[in-house]
């Protein structure tokens, strides 16, 4: 199956792209996809633990199964609204 992966924020800089199509084995889960992508981002272990994943614009857990044509977004911790600071 094929899924479209979207990268946002710091992940866009890290992966040097905004989106890409990936071919995955059928029955792959969100966790499988994250394991696959973790390689290039392994230097960012702290960040990787803190990201959320959305499939077709809904937050999902890593056990969720992917389907052909899904839009999978990798979301670093969000920072909308105003700035925090000290």
């Amino acid at each position: 199956m094929r899924v479209q992966v979207l990268y946002f924020g710091v992940l866009k800089d890290l992966f040097k792209r905004e989106r890409e199509d990936l071919h995955l084995a059928d029955e792959s889960s969100v966790g499988d996809l994250m394991t696959l992508l973790k390689g290039p981002a392994s230097a960012q272990a702290g960040l990787w633990k803190s990201i959320a994943v959305a499939v077709n614009q809904e937050y999902v857990q890593s056990a969720a199964l992917l389907h052909d044509g899904d839009e999978v977004a990798l979301l670093p911790p969000v920072s909308g609204g105003l700035k925090e600071g000290h």
Partner: protein, 150 residues
């Protein structure tokens, strides 16, 4: 209910006028503004970007949830994207209610929850470099919990 993501300047006065109604005893407004520094480091501007379709859907969900949770009459929730300079508004929340307590509570809950769950990010441009702002940790129920994350 008025929920929007915009690239234009947020017109606070107009949005407040539009929401006002006879049944309201209170209108509580939160205006999030670009500050001129972070931890003493001078800010030039912020670039906001979003996973826009999802962000809008999440904002609509939050506004609906707040209407029910706090029993307020109406809500406006607007976030601006793109390049914002010091002193400009990035987010506007307006809550109209019969009583002030619910309006304050809903307003506070909306900004606190938006900052944790709505997929919007900002890159901060300082005089001496740029960084993606540290986000707030996602609520536990959102981060994929898995052995692979160890």
């Amino acid at each position: 209910m008025h929920v929007a993501i915009t690239g234009a300047v947020i017109d606070t006065a107009r949005i407040m006028d539009e929401i006002r109604a006879g049944a309201d005893g209170a209108i509580c407004t939160f205006d999030g503004i670009v500050r001129n520094n972070t931890r003493g480091r001078q800010t030039l501007f912020l670039d906001y970007e979003a996973y826009e379709a999802m962000a809008l859907q999440q904002m609509q969900g939050l506004a609906n949830e707040a209407l029910t949770k706090f029993s307020v009459r109406d809500i406006a929730l607007v976030h601006r994207l793109g390049r914002l300079h010091v002193g400009e508004s990035s987010v506007l929340i307006v809550v109209a209610s019969a009583h002030r307590g619910a309006a304050f509570d809903a307003c506070r809950w909306l900004i606190d929850t938006l900052k944790k769950t709505v997929p919007i990010w900002k890159k901060e441009q300082f005089v001496d470099g740029a960084v993606w702002a540290d986000g707030e940790p996602f609520p536990e129920e959102i981060v994929p919990s898995s052995e692979l994350q160890k």
